[in-house]
């Protein structure tokens, strides 16, 4: 007698411990093998792009905090870079250096979360993640000291930053930066040679160089596939040309490579912060800008290298106080387009690990 079989549809999410927020994957399964995947998102849609049209340019900074909530500082930075391009404003040197320090701290914090959650998805439930939370907490302490909030910083301003750093900031930052490599090593010892982690991450979820480029992936996903592309080097903004740092790349494009790229990038960020602390000039933190900012008619696209990839803001101005249109290029959403290629044909047990290695933030996917 012939056995009758049929495919099975499984909803992973929107409430699932490994979906990094409210994201749903509709998986079509043939036994344990994924045949098709349909991502469903929009659960966290707040219409930030539309909201921005009703608010003035400085007020929109507040809403950029709420895009990628694990990397609010870099969202702030990307937005102000775009507005400064649109209005032709140059921030003072000290402000640029402060922005770099904050952005690199944010990158470390976001990568800590990314690798922590990856291991969470691999089944090491919460324990390695809490190590990461401990280190991230120290970064949040520093941000809290500077701008008074732990998540929604609202720190950068058009033409500068909101407040200068307090005097106890630099000593605390030094102390933290000196302790961080030790922690990363400890973490590596905890898991990098762990046989289970190696088996589950090496040669799993391979994204080839060509497809990574075709999907216009960015950030650690692209670099993990071996493409040396980093906006900080390719189109330097702020004061990044003044720092020496490497762009780490992977070779195979599997989960492990993406993990390694993130760990290496943390080391590079530490190097950048060290140099920025040394070179930090004295002086103004805010350029002179008109009280009511009315950028000239036109459009501008400002982009930076966010922790998750190229984060860009496209602004159209009609000469009024509010942007006529604001569009975000969210790295999470665009990296997510590679998900189907990565998932079709693999076992369901690897799906969450692959998904975790892309490192998305739903606040940014849905906006």
């Amino acid at each position: 007698m012939a056995l009758k079989t049929e495919t099975f549809i499984l909803n992973a999410g929107p409430q699932h411990p490994s979906t990094h927020g409210v994201f749903r994957m509709r998986l079509t399964l043939d036994g344990e093998v994924i045949q098709d995947v349909e991502p469903v998102f929009g659960y966290l849609h707040r219409g930030i792009e539309k909201l921005a049209e009703g608010l003035t340019y400085p007020q929109d900074i507040v809403f950029t905090d709420r895009l990628d909530y694990l990397a609010s500082m870099t969202n702030n930075q990307a937005y102000v870079v775009a507005v400064e391009k649109l209005a032709g404003i140059q921030a003072p040197e000290r402000a640029e250096y402060l922005r770099v320090i904050m952005a690199e701290l944010m990158r470390i914090s976001s990568h800590l979360m990314a690798v922590g959650f990856l291991l969470n998805d691999l089944g090491a439930f919460l324990t390695p993640l809490l190590y990461m939370y401990r280190e991230r907490e120290k970064i949040l302490d520093l941000f809290d000291m500077v701008c008074g909030q732990r998540l929604t910083y609202n720190y950068m301003r058009i033409g500068g930053v909101s407040q200068d750093i307090p005097e106890e900031f630099i000593p605390a930052l030094k102390k933290y930066i000196d302790s961080l490599p030790g922690f990363i090593n400890e973490y590596e010892q905890l898991l990098a040679t762990n046989e289970i982690v190696l088996i589950r991450t090496k040669n799993v979820g391979i994204l080839t160089k060509e497809s990574a480029i075709n999907y216009s992936a960015a950030g650690p996903v692209l670099r993990g596939s071996g493409v040396k592309w980093d906006i900080r080097k390719a189109d330097p903004y702020s004061v990044y040309e003044r720092f020496k740092f490497e762009v780490p790349v992977g070779s195979v494009g599997d989960i492990y490579d993406r993990y390694r790229v993130r760990i290496e990038e943390m080391h590079q960020s530490i190097a950048i912060i060290r140099q920025a602390m040394e070179q930090l000039p004295q002086g103004e933190i805010q350029a002179k800008i008109p009280k009511v900012l009315r950028p000239p008619k036109g459009e501008a696209y400002g982009h930076i290298e966010g922790p998750k990839g190229e984060l860009g803001f496209y602004l159209v101005s009609d000469g009024s106080t509010n942007p006529y249109r604001l569009h975000v290029r969210p790295p999470s959403l665009i990296n997510l387009t590679a998900l189907k290629e990565l998932l079709v044909g693999v076992k369901i047990a690897d799906a969450m690990a692959i998904f975790g290695s892309i490192d998305i933030c739903v606040g940014e996917v849905d906006r």
């Binding site: 190590y131 907490e137 809290d144 008074g148 909030q149 929604t152 046989e195």
Partner: protein, 164 residues
């Protein structure tokens, strides 16, 4: 894939876990023990210095979520006076833009963070609620004079330092 060793990596990881298991905890037993919060903390209440205020409504206009409702009028000497200044803290996103916009520097963020109430109506604060008194705690956000007076923030990187 081929592995170089079996179990060595897991043993190494265990060692790290053991080391961490015997160190002191880094968490705080809130609310019995409290850490000093940031001097620039942006809590979800405003503190308003009535005497310095010129009723210019700059703060209400700067707010991105329109949670400050302000009604002003002119008194017999043609001087602006504040009739109503409601702050809906249920809507406020603690962004601090109102504080930055104030030309008189008479509006402050508060350092209070325990602000739960039993009904939604109570979230709406009137000008009497936000009035600066001896018991209100203005934060150092955008106010260096306040900042220097406040105790230093407890940092995790410095290890444990309970204030009480």
């Amino acid at each position: 894939m081929k592995l170089k060793s079996y179990g060595e990596g897991i043993a190494k990881g265990m060692l790290v876990t053991m080391k961490n298991a015997i160190r002191d905890p880094i968490t705080t037993q809130y609310p019995e023990k409290r850490l000093n919060i940031s001097r620039r903390s942006r809590g979800n209440q405003l503190v308003w210095n009535k005497t310095a205020c010129i009723s210019c409504s700059m703060c209400a206009r700067a707010c991105p979520v329109n949670c400050i409702t302000m009604v002003t009028s002119r008194d017999e000497n043609k001087k602006l006076q504040m009739d109503k200044m409601d702050v809906d803290t249920g809507v406020c996103i603690s962004c601090g833009l109102c504080v930055e916009a104030c030309p008189q520097k008479c509006l402050f963020m508060s350092r209070d963070y325990e602000k739960a109430v039993y009904s939604r109506k109570k979230l709406k604060l009137t000008k009497e609620d936000i009035l600066m008194t001896d018991s209100s705690k203005p934060s150092g956000y955008y106010s260096p004079e306040n900042e220097t007076k406040l105790p230093k923030q407890t940092l995790l990187i410095d290890g444990k330092k309970w204030d009480k």
